[in-house]
Amino acid sequence: MNSFDQLQRDAQIAQRLWSAQQEARAEYARARRRYRTSGDPVHQSLADEKYSLHRALVEASAVRLSTAWEVFLRNLLAEYLSRRPVSFRRAWGFQANSVSVGSDAVDRIVTEARQPFQDLNRAKQLLRYYLGPDLFSVGKKVAVDTKPVEDLVAIRNAVVHTAGSPTRQFRNRLSTRKAAHVYLTSRPGPVGSLPVTQFERLLTDLLATAATLYQRTWARPRPVP
């Protein structure tokens, strides 16, 4: 399985978490309505429980998707060095005629680079080093739009570091003061259009970005944007 196929699989897991949060949200809505009509505090407790579950699953979906992206980048690097070891030889200045790059070597590269894949700029730097300086852009022309990744990273950081409260990075990037879980469930486009939530917008944009990056990795010559 190549790195893009693996990303798709991982993205499906994030999408399933998303589906589970929708179920929890529906159960919350039902319990709240029952509480309003009956006044029975049992329904209020159930509603609180379901809302907590819904929120946890929303945040887990975003973090899972972010992790899927980081794993994709690592797998892409490993796949490329395995299929095109000459780039490794060139980067490290080996004179040997034949070089093969195994998983230990990739682990070493990633460790030496201080686990760069959580930081998009450092990840790009590492990938450019081994996959070519024209991977993401040619001069000032952007070949792979990574804006969706930047949005996702801002959300992930807000969830992981401030329990979903909007950090400055989050507010500036996404032009919102909503909490992460509220933003993710909000609508990105007009009624009657897909996707219906910001999370799903990020999911589809992320896959589109990854597809472009994957195609560009192997294309020879690389098209000028």
Binding site: W18, E23, A29, S193, E200, T204, A208
Partner: protein, 133 residues
């Protein structure tokens, strides 16, 4: 454009589309639970051999029946080619007890505003759901 699907292969789009449509239905019915997404949902015809499949169905487990049926239509000519299937879908929906399921065609943004499509959907009582392309 949010969620642009143009860079993705047909296979990837098809995988994604199911989840997006389930989400779409849930956004219209926020209290509905026990929903499943089913791909290539079989709808019966007048004879056994006339069974056909619709791209996506949202199935209510508690009521054991579909509550929404979606067919992907990527061009206006494919709308013509699918007219038999869509008519059969309408007839099937009319046979179901209780409230009619939502019937919708799922089309790319680039054709969603075309008058032929809009006129057709109004005449046959299908909703139009668009996705970015």
């Amino acid at each position: 454009m949010p969620g642009d699907l143009s860079h993705l292969s047909e296979k990837v789009v098809s995988e994604l589309m199911g989840g997006l449509l389930l989400s779409y239905f849930r956004s219209m019915h926020p209290e509905r639970t026990d929903l499943d997404l089913i791909r290539n949902f079989r709808i019966p015809g007048p004879r056994a051999a006339a069974t056909r499949r619709v791209d996506f169905a949202i199935f209510d487990r508690s009521k054991s029946r579909p509550v929404a049926l979606f067919e992907l239509v990527t061009t206006t000519s494919s709308l013509r080619n699918k007219s038999q299937l869509l008519n059969q879908l309408k007839r099937y929906a009319d046979t179901l007890e209780g409230p009619s399921p939502l019937l919708a065609i799922v089309v790319p943004d680039s054709i969603s505003k075309r008058s032929t499509l809009r006129d057709w959907s109004k005449k046959h009582d299908f909703e139009v759901v668009s996705y970015p392309d």
